[in-house]
Amino acid sequence: MYSQHETKIFGKVLSEEEEEISDAYLYLKDKSTYTLTDFNGNYELKVKPGNYEVVVSFMGYDEVSKSISIAKGEQKEIIFTLNSISGNTLDDVYLNVKSKLTQVQESSFNVVAFNTESLHNSSLDISETLDKVSGVKVRRTGGTGSDYNVMLNGFTGKHVKFFIDGVPMEGFNAAFQLNNIPVNLAKRIEVYKGVVPISFGADALGGAINIVTSDGGKQNFIDASYSYGSFNTHKTYLNAAYTAKSGFTARLTAYQNYSDNNYKVDADIVDLENHQFTGDIRRVRRFHDRYKNYTFGGKIGFVNTKFADELLMGFTFSDVYDEIQNPAYMKIAFGEKYTTAQSFIPDLSYRKRNLFIDNLDFSITANYSLGNAKNIDDSYKRYNWLGEYILTDSPGEFNYSKNYFKDHNGSINTNLTYLLKEKHRFTLNNVLNSFWRKNKDDAEPKAEDKYPTETLKDIFAFAYQFTPNDKLSLTGFSKYYYNRVKRYADPNSTGEYQHLTKTTTDLGYGLATSYFIFDNLQLKTSYEKAFRVPSGRELFGSGNDFDLGNPDLKSESSDNFNFGITYSWKIAKKHHLNLDGSFIYRDIKDFIRMIPDPSNGVLKPGNEAKVENRGLDFGANYNYNQLFSVEANLTYQDMRNKLKYRSGKEVVSTIYNDRIPNLPFLYGNTNLSFYFKNVFEEKDNLTVGYDLQYIHKFDYSYESYGGVKIPTQIAHDIAVNYSFGKGKYNISIAARNLLDKNLYDNFSLQKPGRNFSVKFRYFLNQFN
């Protein structure tokens, strides 16, 4: 029965109801050896012979420990049973609380690990889910599938980078994006607010968001759902995984989203005959905003075998069709403009702990995306918001175009970690990213399009983590950024095209520390000198004669300081309160700004802007005895223009020290949930949740000039979920924007009014 070679403990972690607990954290007290239970609650921990205290912890449950003594070659089975503390199990409450695991692994970074499993009964996509995370604001332009912009500590757009299981999503086209990936695909969303761990290897000036779809290990489950909602919205989802005892695994993911997005908006009706707006504001239905996409993918490989902890090969195919109802302002309605995109993404991942020698962990993940997209605006019709149209002789509703894009994007992320004497962790990481794109515009052929744009980016990083004891962790790291952009371009619009190449290199570095003052009070602080390399478009222009390029651009840089505090308070047996707060400071230099030159009618990027941001995030949650929970978060940003003298000027800029316009600066969310257990049958659960979102009024333009404002907005959502058959069957009903308010994330772009959805979900969390 015993093998003479391995000394280990193994077993299961169960709840008081004898449910297997996955992801429980199991460690040896005063050692840095730890492991996690797999999906079926199993664990295995190799140890050296000796006396230990084994501790098991899982959020929402009381910690359990057991002293053991183990001899050489002995293999000891221990079953742990955990008792839930204050009515707070993973299935019931959506938790923003960091598990001890995340605290240990990522302790020093300013990170929120947002567990999405409690949202798997909702019909949200990832971008809508992100909006619930403290400090994050997602600005959407409309309904299902609409454009979105994620704001993180005041940063938006190119400054926030996205990853899926650690692989950059930067080169992916519209077919596979956060606005169409259902929340069910994510097990967890990690939001790195300032310092980004080197394993992501990103030039993410403003932070990074990582979507974790799987924690590895043996998986056997089926998750299938269908939802129907207002505006003829249909969403279907299927995700299944099978893992044999041998470690062979096969996984399948398929989903589909469809919506007419025909919600009502207030719009000015143009008289098509004389092109005049009548000033007659009417409530009209959107009529050309259909969105449909589907994604299909699979993986096969092996897990937990001798040669690999994980070896997976797979692909993802996605397709999207998106009708464009209006441009970035609501005055105009389109009737025929649309975009489509397809992408095929093969991927490969390999992970092995203790490669060749103990404590040397290696991983490599790679993908290659082949994308096609088109953007068509060639109609001879002109529409108004009533859906009426006239025929004209001139093609193009907005900007006559028949644009076709082809892109190839490859990423390889390689990571090597060595743990020395349980206290010193050395990590080497390299992320190589290549991007190739070719455009073709049949409406107006452009010289730029004769040759493709190519970008090669490599980020090599080294980190050292020192963990002298359970309380303190110190990490120092350095990143080397290399970026090369090749383009056939005419950056100054002189008519002379050349093959241009620009290489940028930067060296970034940082420090992160965390310290547990008490077991339930943690302080964190971190600093990073972060960079963002200029894009091809910024360097060489966008190929028209008004968005010019600037080949002399430097990388943007920022000094990012973060301070965080987390406090977890067990008020009484059934009351539990968690508080966290963070302060961030960003000093951004050489910020790339498109500098408008209205008298010449051009925009030219420059390293002109200087911006400073101070921000505060607060989060709190309280749980009472598996019956009730409250969660709230609030963010305040003070992001200001610190460019005192524009280039060539001797007088102080009239917008110096103004708040950066068109960015929400005070916003928050609240969630209240009530849990009713054993409603009809044993283990039938009813959950009623209420969400409130608040965005404070903000300026569309520089405040010292006055001008229009985006008003304060409050949205109320309600969701009811009934779960039966031990969690296998779920029915959820949700009502969003309950008071039917006009909601805007962007100036004049109205989001959907009151809407409803119902979702049926079958979830079998283990077989085989």
Partner: protein, 415 residues
């Protein structure tokens, strides 16, 4: 309120300074005095959006758009004054939020935003034909050789169009017409154009869609008001294409004067060996006059003109390229010199006292009654309205505007 006080003070001061103001009948002192029926309108920006200010006197003092005393316009449109009737903000960059918005003075001489019009295209060329604005954009694709026009009535606000004309057979030289100027003349519409390859050469020699073998030609199409082409007049070898192209946009260059003569200004754009100069069209037969040519390159000592502004009595203010023998459509080649010319006597004078550190120049206003042209000019200090007097050929600073930039100035009257 404070701003209005400052204004009135400056008006009083100007009365002392300019004794030529003969009558103070239409001027009353005091807080509640009605505004004059004529107002200067100054288009300022905070670098991203526009703010409109009005003033009765711009000869000195200072004005600031901050603090809610201005009218906000989203984006930074390109401004065009339809005489003194209305100011139009045309989209110059696709993707900018906004439709075309116009402003006029209401009966109390307050600036009034009128209903927008659904023109979201980048307007490249524009001109007044009687009391209508004709606006236009041309294709740069030989496979789709068209130019699209709209007619806008600034009083009723009605828009007619799109009216599409073919650009492949305006002249039989194998190239495609690209329109750079529109001017009304009696019952005709004179349309200045150049010809370009528009990609038809497959980019073999150069990848510039504007590449042409005919930059030493001057072409004008004579249209009726329904935009039906009647004839094309052409001059070859003396100067180049009708003046004023910046990037894809162009205006000015065909200039009728009081006696009916029409002068045609050319920058000799994209043609190093061709002099910049002025031609004349005979009003009787609408043909170029063979014996009139005013060689500006020669008169200026090697410089080329950019745009022309008619002040009256055959006197024009020219905005000139900064560097000798340079004339391109590229913003990087600056146009920071000014000259005063008399086309009848063929006299040329450089404007004196032009500021040295010019960062940008806005759309000017021509004040015929005062023989001057006012340019918003941005230097190291705040943008300032500079006045060029054609009698003295001198430029003097006037009102300072505390904004990031001033993109245009014009004058509106109560209609």
């Amino acid at each position: 309120m404070i701003y209005r006080k400052t204004l009135n003070l400056s008006v009083i001061l100007s009365l002392f300074l300019f004794a030529s103001c003969s009558s103070d009948d239409d001027f009353e002192d005091g807080e509640n005095s009605p505004k004059a029926d004529e107002q200067y309108v100054i288009m300022t920006t905070d670098s991203e959006n526009s703010y409109l200010l009005t003033a009765e006197d711009i000869s000195e003092g200072s004005l600031s758009p901050s603090g809610n005393n201005s009218t906000q316009v989203i984006g930074t449109p390109s401004w065009y004054f339809a005489k003194d009737i209305a100011a139009y903000g045309f989209i110059y960059r696709q993707g900018d939020p906004g439709t075309t918005q116009s402003f006029a003075l209401d009966e109390n001489a307050n600036l009034e935003a009128r209903n927008e019009i659904n023109l979201t295209v980048s307007i490249q060329s524009k001109g007044m034909v009687d009391d209508e604005i004709y606006v236009e954009f041309s294709s740069r694709n030989y496979e789709e050789p068209i130019a699209t026009f709209y007619k806008i009535n600034p009083i009723t606000q009605a828009v007619e169009g799109p009216i599409v004309i073919d650009t492949d057979d305006m002249v039989e030289n194998g190239e495609y017409a690209y329109i750079t100027a529109i001017t009304g003349y009696n019952d005709k519409v004179l349309v200045g154009f150049r010809t370009i390859k528009a990609g038809s050469d497959g980019g073999e020699e150069t990848d510039d869609l504007f590449d042409s073998d005919f930059n030493d030609h001057t072409y004008i199409g004579v249209f009726n008001k329904d935009l039906e082409l009647e004839k094309v007049i052409e001059d070859q070898g003396r100067t180049g294409i009708v003046a004023g192209q910046l990037r894809a946009t162009a205006e000015t260059g065909i200039e009728p004067v009081e006696n009916g003569d029409i002068y045609v200004f050319s920058s000799a754009l994209d043609a190093e060996d061709v002099p910049s100069g002025i031609l004349k069209i005979n009003p009787d037969n609408l043909e170029f006059e063979e014996d009139y040519f005013f060689n500006i390159s020669e008169a200026s000592g090697g410089y080329k003109l950019y745009r022309s502004y008619y002040v009256g009595n055959h006197n024009f203010v020219l905005r000139m390229f900064t560097e000798p023998n340079v004339s391109t459509a590229t913003p990087d080649d600056t146009r920071n010199k000014f000259a005063v010319v008399n086309v009848e006597n063929q006299t040329f004078s450089w404007v004196e006292d032009v500021p040295q550190d010019i960062l940008s120049i806005g759309e000017p206003h021509v004040e015929k009654a005062e023989n001057k042209v006012t340019f918003p000019i941005e230097t190291g200090g705040y943008p300032t309205l500079y006045h060029i007097d054609v009698n003295t050929a001198k430029i003097t600073p006037g009102m300072e505007i505390k904004a990031e930039e001033v993109t245009a100035i014009g004058k509106l009257s109560v209609q």
